[in-house]
Every structure is written in structure tokens, then in C-alpha cells.
Symmetry: none
Subunit: 226 residues, 2 copies
């Protein structure tokens, strides 16, 4: 059954959404605040998130970013603010759709169906275990094989995150440079050599013979769990 997480502080709207979604046989989870919503998403990853931007405890785009740190789940934003700027900020933070209150329940359900239709079956899990080490994408923490915390610098983390989120897939050098350094550094491949070396020394049991952070000469790098 399809699981939908609703993060909404208005009790009336929350109840209305719950009734309508359950009537269509969705499995619904509810959160009243951003913090609990994020915790619930990590505890039990949903197939789609309906998020109210006007929550009291957290900024809306921060919630989106926190989700996007580890998940590609479709995010449908509800908001009372109809300005263009708010929509652009939310969409660029990673939201998939933006619905301005007041909205019709029929339209909401149609946009929800559209979001679910193109659901991807990727690695939507907050923690990825890789033989010798463990990556917690949601908390941005890493543990060594001995349970020791490993400290990564910002760039090291960004490189690792791109690779882990594309587990098994070859990530080209251009793609990595684009994601981490931006479009002006697409040819600076020696950066990658340096930072892949750092990551291997910190994470691999035998940095000279990596088992998880692999090089594909002339093409790019690949992360595999085992």
C-alpha cells in the first residue's frame, strides 16, 4: 500500500487530508511539526510527502533540504503564500510541486497521483551500510568499522554523498565536479584524485585496494556496498 506522510500544523486541514487520503486507500502518517515529520520520514520512509510550508518550528525550505539530503521522495508543498518567490525557493530546494491555499481536494489528489506515478525506486534510506563503514545521510555522520566516528571536511562529504546516493551507478568525473565544485570546474579532474584519496584513507580498510570507492579509469567513480 502506498504510504503518504502529511506534515501539517493546522488540525482541521490535517484531519480533512487524512479522511480523504484514507478513503482512497493510502496509508497515512501525520506530523504536526517539521522536526517530528523529519523523524517519522527517517523512521519509516514514505512514498510521498505532503508538506505545509508555514510550520511554526522550522523553515519550510530547511525541511525540504533535510529530506533531500537522503531521499528523493516526491514532495508536494502546500502554502498560504502565493508569491512567486516562495514557490521558486521551495521548488529549487527540491520540492516537486507547489499548491497554494485554498485548493480543491480533487486537484490535490490528482497532483499526488502524478507525483506517485513517476516514483523512483532508488536508495531512499537515511543510513547506508558499506561493509567496513556506515554512512548516515540524514544525520551527516559516518562511523568506521570499529564504530568510531569519522570526521569529513565539507568537500569530502559532498563527494561521498553524491557517490552514495548513486550507489552502484558510475558517476562521471564531469558529474561529480559539477555537483561539488560547480560548472566552472568541469575539467579539474585532479581535485577528484586528491579527495578520493582522502576518502579512501579515512574509510577503506586498505586504501590502496579500495573495495567500496572504485575508480573507472577515464570515466569516473563508483560506490558499491559490497
Amino acid at each position: 500500500m502506498t504510504a503518504v506522510l502529511v506534515i501539517e500544523d493546522d488540525a482541521d486541514l490535517r484531519r480533512a487530508l487524512g479522511i480523504n487520503l484514507r478513503a482512497r486507500d493510502y496509508k497515512v502518517a501525520m506530523a504536526e511539526s517539521g522536526a517530528t515529520g523529519l523523524a517519522m520520514a527517517e523512521a519509516s520512509p514514505p512514498d510521498l510527502v505532503i508538506l505545509d510550508l508555514g510550520l511554526p518550528d522550522m523553515d519550510g525550505t530547511d525541511i525540504i533540504s533535510a529530506l533531500r539530503a537522503w531521499s528523493r521522495v516526491p514532495i508536494l508543498v502546500l502554502s498560504a503564500r502565493s508569491g512567486q518567490g516562495d514557490k521558486i525557493d521551495a521548488l529549487d530546494a527540491g520540492a516537486d510541486d507547489y499548491l497554494t491555499k485554498p485548493f480543491g481536494m480533487g486537484e490535490l489528489l490528482a497532483r499526488l497521483r502524478a507525483g506517485l506515478r513517476r516514483r523512483v525506486d532508488g536508495i531512499d534510506q537515511p543510513v547506508v551500510q558499506a561493509g567496513s563503514f556506515t554512512v548516515n545521510l540524514a544525520a551527516r555522520r559516518i562511523q568506521d568499522g570499529d564504530g568510531q566516528e569519522v570526521h569529513l571536511t565539507p568537500i569530502e562529504w559532498q563527494v561521498l554523498e553524491v557517490l552514495v546516493r548513486n550507489e552502484g551507478r558510475l558517476v562521471s568525473q564531469r558529474e561529480l565536479l559539477q555537483e561539488v565544485w560547480g560548472p566552472g570546474y568541469l575539467t579539474e579532474t585532479h581535485y577528484l584524485r586528491v579527495y578520493m584519496g582522502h576518502l579512501r584513507r579515512k574509510l577503506e580498510a586498505d586504501p590502496a585496494n579500495p573495495r567500496h570507492l572504485l575508480t573507472e579509469p577515464g570515466m569516473g567513480y563508483r560506490f558499491i556496498r559490497d
Copy 2:
């Protein structure tokens, strides 16, 4: 470069869209009617479609259905009609987003970025099973008959990719050389002999009697699954 197809009959709006999209470095194609739009999409598949529902020659949902018959390209619908029913129909026909006129150009571009972002995350995993081996083009991964990972060099990948994309069809030597080595090497057919040999040795159960990577003497090569 990202290719966007705009299907819009209003000349003013079409021009405005063209200017804004090209300014953001999108490659823009334009159609004034549904029929030509569908033809252009088939001739040169875009990365995203912007579709006006109020075209004179065809019903909007029919255009969406026709596209969805063969493509999962993101479709962003523009419409002057703001009723819930129209939106629901379009979204359930397969559209990804629905924008009511008049709309802000900033919001349109943000929704366009949201649609394109999903494409990069890659729904399509073209996995081709070929008797003795399995090719995953998106992940750049190959498994042998025994489930063993097979490593290919960049040029080996390029050659194989061209052949697999043209599964069943004869690919001429000129075409292969053009795609992989570029226009300056159209007569260096011995390169092909060398690299086809590499591929067969790595992928075929009996490299001397290939069953999937076939030679058509004097013409070119052909990939077949079985």
C-alpha cells in the same frame, strides 16, 4: 544541452518562452500545433515538453496520451482554464504539472527545473539482457553469465553503447567510427576489429563464435539479444 519542446499556438507567448528559455541555455524547439508537436517529439525526443492545452487542432489530453504512449518525458501543461476538472483530467492523462495563465516566468522556470531534476535522477534503467550477459547502460555496469562484474574501458563502452542502443539494427562501420572516434577516423576500420575482439572476449561465452556481437562482412556490426 537540455532540449525543451514548446507546443503553443499563441505567437506572443511562444516568442516570450523562446527568449526566456534560450537565455537560460536551453535548446528550444517550437511547434504551433499538436500534430506538429507530436511529430517533432518523435523526430527528436526532448528532455521536457511545455504544452498549451488550448490548441486549435487537437484536444490537450489526447496530445498527452499520445506522448505517454511511448515516452515518459516530463510534461508541463499551460492552460487558460483554471477549473479543477481540467487540471485533474490533464494530470491523470499523464501530465506532470499544470500551470494556469497568467503565470510568472520565474515560476514556470522553477517548475521546469523541478521537472528536469527528476530526469537526471533517472527513472529509466535501460537494462538489456543478452543471453550470456546483462548490460545496464545507465549504471554503466555489466554482469557476466555467472553474475560476475565485467570491466570495460571507455572506448569499449562507447562501442557497446552504440550497438546496444541500435539493438537488432545493422550499424555501419562509418557510423561506429563517427560516434566513437569522431569524423577524422572514418576509414580506420581496424580499430573496430580490435575493440570488437575485446568486447567478444569479455562478453561472449565463445568469443570465436559470437552469438550477440555479430559481424556483417563489408558492412558493419550488429547486436542481438538472442
